[in-house]
C-alpha cells in the first residue's frame, strides 16, 4: 500500500489578473447560456470547457464525465477596474496612508524599519499583527505632507457604500489602482501585507473569474424549463453591463453615462461577491427573494464551512427509533434485520477465509448474512444478485473484497444527538433482531441521555481494520462506564433496575429455591451458597443479600451509606435499623440495601469500585448481572403504581386540612400586621419584600408539613415511596404533591403577581395579598385543582418550559465555543499541554498529570487503602 498523500499546508493570498487569465480555460463574452437545441453556447456562461453537469457529455477541458470533472474557471475581462467590496475598508486605510503623488507609505525610514521588525517578530511568534498594522496606518495618516516628495496631502473621505472622495472629487477605481501600483514592495510589507501574494492593486478587479458550472448547476424543471443558479443570474448581469459599458465607451458616450455604467458594474460585482453589504440594496430574484451569492454560500451554520466542510455526510450509517431490551448486554445493540442487510463490512479475501467468503457470496444479497457487493482485485465492483451469486462465488480469489452484510458480533458505533460528550458515541456489538427498532439495554441510556418516547439514534459501521480496532479498544461501552467529567460511573441501574435490587436486598427477604432459580436463570452458572435457613415446611430459603452477593467479585470490600439513609445525627453503621448502611466484606453483603447509591447511574459506588479494582470487563459483567437480576427480582412480586397508591386515610386528610388552614391563618395575620404597619422589615429589605418572603416561608413550611403527614401514612409498602426512597424515580416531594398539597406556584422565584389591575384574576378582590390570590395550590393532584389553582399551575409550568427552551440554545452555544477554543489542545509525550502554535498551555496536565477518569488511583484514599493493605497484613 502506498502512503497516502497529505496536504501539508495551505497558503492564502490575492490572485493577480495575470494569474486569473492563466488559470482560465475560456474567456466569457456572451451572456447567453444555452442555444435553442439546449446545447451550451461556446464562450457563454455554460461553455463546455467550464466543466459538465449534463449526463452523457464530456468536459472539453479534461475529458471527464459529470462527477469526475471538478470544473474549470473561466474569466471575464472587465472594461474598467472595480473595487472588491471585501477590501473596501483596507483600500481606504491604504489610500490615507500613502502619498497621493509618489505612492510611498508616509512614514520615516527608521519608523518603517521599526514597525517591520515588530511585524516580523509577531509573525514568527504566531501572533496577530493587527495592532501594529493599525498603528502603522494611524501614524502614516497623520502626515499632512509627504516626507519623501513633499507634496501636500488631502483628506480622503469614504462615502458608503463604496466611494472615496478627495477634494470633492470621487476617486475612480482606476485612479486608486494607479496609485496602488506604484507602492514599493518594502512599504507593502510595513502595511502587514506580503507583496508576493497580495499586491494592493489586486484588491481592484480588472479580471473577474467565472466559477465553473459545477458550482452553479442549472436545474431542469419537470416542464422542461431550465432554471439557472443565482450565481449564473448574477454573472449574466455582469456580462451585459460590461458589454454596454464597452459599447458606450467606444462610441464616446458622455462622461455622465460612462460613470453611471461604471457604478452599475460596480454594483453587480459587489452583489456577486456579497449580497448583504450595508448600503447596497441586495440583488433580487424575479420572485423578490434576495440572491444567494458567494459570501452567503460560505457563511453561517448551513454555509460551506460549517455545513459542508466541517460536517460531512457518510455512508454505512443507519438511523431509526430506539426501544429497550433488558435481555441485551450493555455492550450490545439490537439491529433490525432490514438494516443489517443494507449495511456491510468489507472483508479482504485471503487463503484462509476464501471458503467462508464463498459461502457468504453464494447466499446472495437477499438471505442474511449475505453479500451486497464484491470488489475484484482490479477495482471493479460487482453487485450480487440472485442470478450471479453462484457464478461470482466461484470466481472469488484472494485479494478480492467482499462487502458482507452486518451480522452478530460486528462492531458498530452508536450515537445519539446532541453529542455533548464523548460517551454520546460508543461502540457496541451487533445482535441482529426482527422488527424495526434499534434495541439497547436501558442501563446505557444515561450516557446517551436517551429515553424511549420516540428518540432516534444513529449507527455507523467502521470500514477499515484501524477503525474497528480503535472502536473496539477505545470506544466500547465498558471503557466508557467511568466518565472523564468526574471519574465516577455514568452507566448503571435506572428506574426498575434500582427498584428491583432494592426489593430484592431490603431487610431479610426470604427467597425459596424456585424463586432463586427464576432470579438467576439469565446469569452464567453460579455456585449457589448454603441456604440461610429452612422455613416451617423444611424448604430451604436464601436471602436477597446472599443472592446479590453472587455477582459481586470475590475480595471486594466496601462500606457506604445507602441512598435512602435518613442522615441520622449519629450513624449506627452496621446496626442501622433502616438497613441503610451497606457493608460488603470479601464480596458478601453483610448488611445494607442495594439501591441507587450502590448501583445507580452517576453514583453507583459498587459499580465504581468494581471497575476500578477489577477492570472494565468485570465491571461490565457486574452491570449486566445486576440488571438481569434486578429485572427478575422485581418480577417475583410485580411492581406497579396507580391512583390508589396516593390514597391516604381520612384523618390524615383532616390533619393536612388543619395544617393548611393554620398556614392560611398565619398568612392573614402577617398581612394584617403589614397593613397595620407592625411588620418588622428584615435587614436590607423593604417592607413589601419582607412580607412576601415571610408569606412564602409560611406557605412553604405548610406544604412540607402536609407532606410529612402524608409521608407518615405511606410506608415502604407503597411503591411510590419505594421508588422515591431507593432513588429509582421521583422524590418524596412528588408524592407530597400527588397525595397532600401541590404548594405555591412561582414565577422567577416570587409568588404570581401579574394579571389584571391590582389582582391576578377577576376571582379576587383588588389588593388581596392572601395565599389563594397569588398562586398557592392547596389541593393535591389526586384531589384535582380548582379553576384558579389550575390556571396558576399552568403559569408556573409555562415558566419551566420557556426556561428549558432558552437554556438549550444558550448552553449549546457555550459548548460550541468551549470546544472550538480547546479542541486543539493535546498532551505531549513530555506531559505538557500544547496548542497548535506550539504554545505551552500547561507544563504538567492538571498540575499533577493525572487523567480525570483515573483520578482515584492517585487519591489520598487510595494511599490510605494501600497503607492499610500492606501494614494491615502484618497484623497491625
Amino acid at each position: 500500500m502506498t502512503v497516502p498523500k497529505r496536504i501539508g499546508k495551505i497558503s492564502f493570498g490575492l490572485i493577480s489578473p495575470q494569474e486569473f487569465r492563466r488559470m482560465s480555460v475560456v474567456k466569457i463574452i456572451t451572456a447567453d447560456t444555452y442555444d435553442d437545441d439546449g446545447f451550451p453556447i461556446e464562450m457563454g456562461l455554460m461553455d463546455p470547457r467550464l466543466g459538465v453537469i449534463d449526463p452523457g457529455l464530456r468536459c472539453r477541458s479534461c475529458g471527464g464525465r459529470p462527477g469526475e470533472c471538478p470544473g474549470h474557471f473561466g474569466h471575464i475581462d472587465l472594461i474598467a477596474p472595480v473595487i472588491h467590496v471585501g477590501f473596501a475598508k483596507l483600500i481606504r486605510k491604504i489610500l490615507r496612508a500613502i502619498c497621493r503623488d509618489c505612492s510611498r507609505l508616509m512614514l520615516l525610514e527608521n519608523e518603517k524599519r521599526m514597525y517591520l521588525e515588530q511585524i516580523e517578530t509577531l509573525v514568527r511568534l504566531g501572533q496577530t499583527t493587527d495592532d501594529v498594522v493599525n498603528k502603522v496606518f494611524a501614524e502614516a495618516r497623520k502626515h499632512k505632507v509627504c516626507p519623501y516628495c513633499g507634496s501636500p496631502q488631502q483628506e480622503i473621505k469614504f462615502e458608503r457604500p463604496l466611494a472615496y472622495v478627495e477634494e470633492g472629487h470621487k476617486l475612480t477605481p482606476s485612479d486608486i489602482r494607479d496609485r496602488f501600483e506604484k507602492i514599493p514592495d518594502e512599504d507593502i510589507k510595513v502595511m502587514g501585507m506580503n507583496p508576493d501574494t497580495a499586491r494592493p492593486e489586486w484588491m481592484l478587479l480588472t479580471v473577474l473569474p467565472v466559477p465553473p458550472v459545477t458550482m452553479r448547476p442549472s436545474i431542469t424543471l419537470e416542464s422542461g424549463q431550465r432554471s439557472e443558479d443565482d450565481l449564473t443570474h448574477k454573472l449574466v448581469d455582469i456580462i451585459r453591463i460590461n458589454q454596454r459599458f464597452q459599447e458606450n465607451r467606444e462610441a464616446g458616450a458622455p462622461q455622465l453615462i460612462i460613470e453611471d455604467l461604471w457604478e452599475l458594474l460596480q454594483y453587480h460585482i459587489t452583489t456577486f461577491l456579497d449580497n448583504t453589504v450595508s448600503g447596497v440594496p441586495p440583488a433580487r430574484h424575479r420572485s423578490g427573494r434576495p440572491l444567494k451569492t458567494l459570501s452567503q454560500r460560505l457563511k453561517g451554520k448551513e454555509g460551506r464551512f460549517r455545513g459542508s466542510l466541517s460536517g460531512k455526510r457518510v455512508n454505512f450509517s443507519a438511523r431509526t427509533v430506539i426501544s429497550p431490551d433488558p435481555n441485551l448486554s450493555i455492550n450490545e445493540v439490537g439491529v433490525p434485520l432490514e438494516i443489517a442487510m443494507e449495511l456491510s463490512v468489507p472483508l479482504v479475501v485471503n487463503g484462509r477465509n476464501i471458503e467462508v467468503m464463498r459461502d457468504f457470496v453464494r447466499r446472495g444479497a437477499d438471505k442474511h448474512p449475505g453479500v451486497n457487493y464484491v470488489t475484484r482485485a482490479d477495482g471493479r465492483r460487482v453487485k450480487i444478485t440472485d442470478r450471479n451469486a453462484e457464478e461470482v462465488a466461484d470466481q472469488i480469489e484472494p485479494g478480492w473484497r467482499v462487502d458482507r452484510q452486518l451480522m452478530d458480533g460486528d462492531i458498530v458505533l452508536f450515537n445519539r444527538q446532541p453529542s455533548l460528550h464523548r460517551m454520546s458515541i460508543m461502540s457496541h456489538r451487533v445482535i441482529v433482531m426482527p422488527y424495526k427498532t434499534f434495541r439497547l439495554n436501558p442501563a446505557v441510556c444515561p450516557p446517551y441521555n436517551a429515553d424511549f418516547d420516540g428518540d432516534e439514534m444513529n449507527l455507523h459501521v467502521p470500514q477499515t481494520e484501524e477503525a474497528r480496532a480503535e472502536a473496539e479498544i477505545l470506544m466500547r461501552v465498558q471503557e466508557n462506564i467511568l466518565s472523564p467529567r468526574f471519574g465516577g460511573p455514568i452507566i448503571g441501574g435506572i428506574h426498575d433496575y434500582v427498584t428491583g435490587n432494592f426489593l430484592l436486598t431490603h431487610a431479610d427477604r426470604r427467597i425459596n429455591r424456585l424463586e432463586v432459580m427464576e432470579v438467576l436463570k439469565k446469569l452464567p452458572h453460579l455456585e449457589l451458597p448454603e441456604p440461610k435457613g429452612f422455613d416451617e415446611g423444611g424448604e430451604p430459603y436464601w436471602t436477597g443479600k446472599q443472592i446479590f452477593s453472587l455477582i459481586l467479585p470475590k475480595g471486594l470490600n466496601l462500606e457506604f451509606k445507602a441512598s435512602f439513609c435518613m442522615n441520622c445525627d449519629a450513624c449506627k453503621r452496621e446496626a442501622c435499623e433502616n438497613d441503610a448502611y451497606v457493608v460488603i466484606r470479601d464480596g458478601q453483603i453483610r448488611c445494607g440495601t442495594i439501591d441507587a447509591s450502590a448501583v445507580g447511574a452517576f453514583k453507583g459506588k459498587i459499580t465504581d469500585r468494581v471497575i476500578k479494582e477489577y477492570g472494565p470487563t468485570v465491571g461490565a459483567g457486574f452491570v449486566d448481572g445486576m440488571t438481569q437480576m434486578a429485572i427478575r427480582g422485581i418480577m417475583l412480586a410485580g411492581f406497579s403504581f396507580g391512583i390508589d397508591d396516593e390514597d391516604i386515610p381520612k384523618d390524615a386528610e383532616d390533619q393536612i386540612e388543619d395544617v393548611l388552614n393554620a398556614a392560611r391563618e398565619n398568612v392573614s395575620k402577617l398581612i394584617e400586621a403589614y397593613q397595620a404597619g407592625e411588620l418588622e422589615p428584615l435587614p436590607g429589605r423593604t417592607l413589601d419584600e419582607t412580607l412576601e418572603m415571610r408569606i412564602m416561608q409560611t406557605l412553604g413550611k405548610a406544604r412540607d408539613n402536609a407532606g410529612s403527614i402524608a409521608g407518615r401514612y405511606l410506608g415502604l409498602d407503597n411503591s411510590g415511596v419505594v421508588m422515591a426512597v431507593s432513588g429509582a424515580r421521583g422524590s418524596m416531594l412528588n408524592l407530597t404533591q400527588m397525595a397532600a398539597c401541590v404548594g405555591q406556584q412561582s414565577v422567577r422565584g416570587e409568588r404570581i403577581r401579574r394579571g389584571y389591575d391590582g389582582r391576578t384574576l377577576p376571582h379576587f378582590r383588588r389588593g388581596d395579598l392572601g395565599a389563594e390570590a397569588h398562586g398557592f395550590v392547596q389541593s393535591s393532584y389526586k384531589e384535582g385543582l380548582n379553576p384558579t389553582e389550575f390556571f396558576f399551575h399552568a403559569i408556573g409550568g409555562r415558566e419551566g418550559l420557556v426556561d428549558t427552551a432558552i437554556r438549550t440554545s444558550q448552553s449549546g452555544y457555550l459548548q460550541r465555543r468551549l470546544i472550538n477554543a480547546l479542541q486543539d489542545l493535546e498532551v505531549q509525550y513530555d506531559g505538557t499541554v500544547k496548542e497548535t502554535r506550539g504554545i505551552i498551555v500547561q507544563f504538567n496536565y492538571g498540575e499533577d498529570g493525572v487523567d480525570a477518569s483515573k483520578r482515584d488511583y492517585a487519591s489520598p484514599e487510595n494511599v490510605h487503602r494501600i497503607v492499610q493493605r500492606v501494614l494491615g497484613r502484618a497484623g497491625r
Binding site: T128, F305, L818, Q823, V833, D851, R855
Partner: protein
Amino acid sequence: MSLSEKEVQKRIEDLPLPQSIKRALEGELKGIEVSEEEFGEVAGLVVADYERSRVEPCEAVGVVAAQSIGEPGTQMTMRTFHYAGVAEINVTLGLPRLIEIVDARKIPSTPTMTIRLEREYALDRDIAREVAWSIESTNILHLGSIATDLAEMNVVIDLNEEALLLRKIAAEEVAERLAEGTKLSADQHGNQIIMTPPEPSYRDLLQLVEKIKTISLKGIEGIKRVVIRKEGDEYVLYTEGSALKDVIQFKGVDPTRTKTNNITEIGDVLGIEAARNAIINEATDTLREQGLSVDVRHIMLVADIMTCDGEVKQIGRHGVSGEKASVLARAAFEVTVNHILDAAVRGDVDDLRGVTENVIVGQPIQLGTGDVQLVAKR
C-alpha cells in the same frame, strides 16, 4: 528494624509523585513504625498506582475538558438571580454566571465582594459594623431627606443627627463634599444644607436634586451596599458592587482573605496568576452550587487557556478562538468571510495542524491515535 520519621519523610520526598499524594502518604505513615521492606512495598504500590493514573500522551484533553464543562450546562438552571449565602445580596448563578466567566466580561452583571477582616476587627460586631459603614458608599439619602423649595428655587437638605453620628460624618463635611461634587456653594446651618442651582429654572432644580443624590459622601464609590454576616466566630462583610483595589487598602480589612467575583479586576490588581485562580474558583463554585461535579483539571485547562498569554482572554470570537493560528479553523467558527479576506491580504499560511483544518481538507486529525507517527516496518 523500622525507619525513623525523618528517614521516611526524606524517602517520600524522593518519590516521583505529585505533592498531594506525598502529603497523603506522609500523613498515613505518621506515627506508625514502618520497616524498610514495608516502606518499599507501600512506595512501590503508590508509585505504580500513580503511574497508572497518568494521562496518556496524545490524549485530547482539550475536547474532554470542554465537554465536561459544556455538558452539565444543559442541566443548569437559567434563574439569573438567586440568594446565595446572604439573603440580602443578589448574585448571578447557574448557566448565566458560567457564560459570564468564560466570556471574561469586564464587569460581571452582579459584582460582589467578600471582605474578611483582621482578627481584632472581625470578632466584634460593632467594630465590624464601623468598618462596613466606612466602606459602604454613603449618599445623601442615607443621612437625611432632600426637598425642593419651589418658592425660593433651591434645594433643602435636612440631615438626620442620628444618621450622621452613626456614620461618623459631620454636617460640615457633607456640605463640603456636596459643594465639591456640584461645583456650587452649599450653605450649611446646623443640620440643614441649602443649595441653589445657577439658573433659577425648574429643570435645573430637579437636575441638581438628581446630581446630589449620586454624590458619594463617604466610603468607596461603587460599593452600594455592605451586609454583615457571622461566619463561624468572625463577622464577614458582603458587598454589592466591587472595588478590590480600594478595599484591600482599608484599615481593618484582611487583604489576603478578601475577594471579589470580578475576574478582570482581580487580574488588574493582583496579576494574571490570581485571575487564573479566580476563574477556577468561580467556575468550581458555580458548578458546585448547581450540584454538578466536574473535575478541577478540566476547569484548570479552561482557566489556563484563557490566561496563558498574560491577559484574560474570552473563550470565543474575540479571544481564544479569534487568535488561532489556523485560518480555516477561524473561518469555520464565526465571521467566516472576514477571516478569509484578511488571511489573503496578509498572505497567511495554514499549517493544518489543528482539528477543524484537517477535517475540512479531509485528512486524519493530528490528535490522539492520529498523532502517532510510527509506521510498522515490513
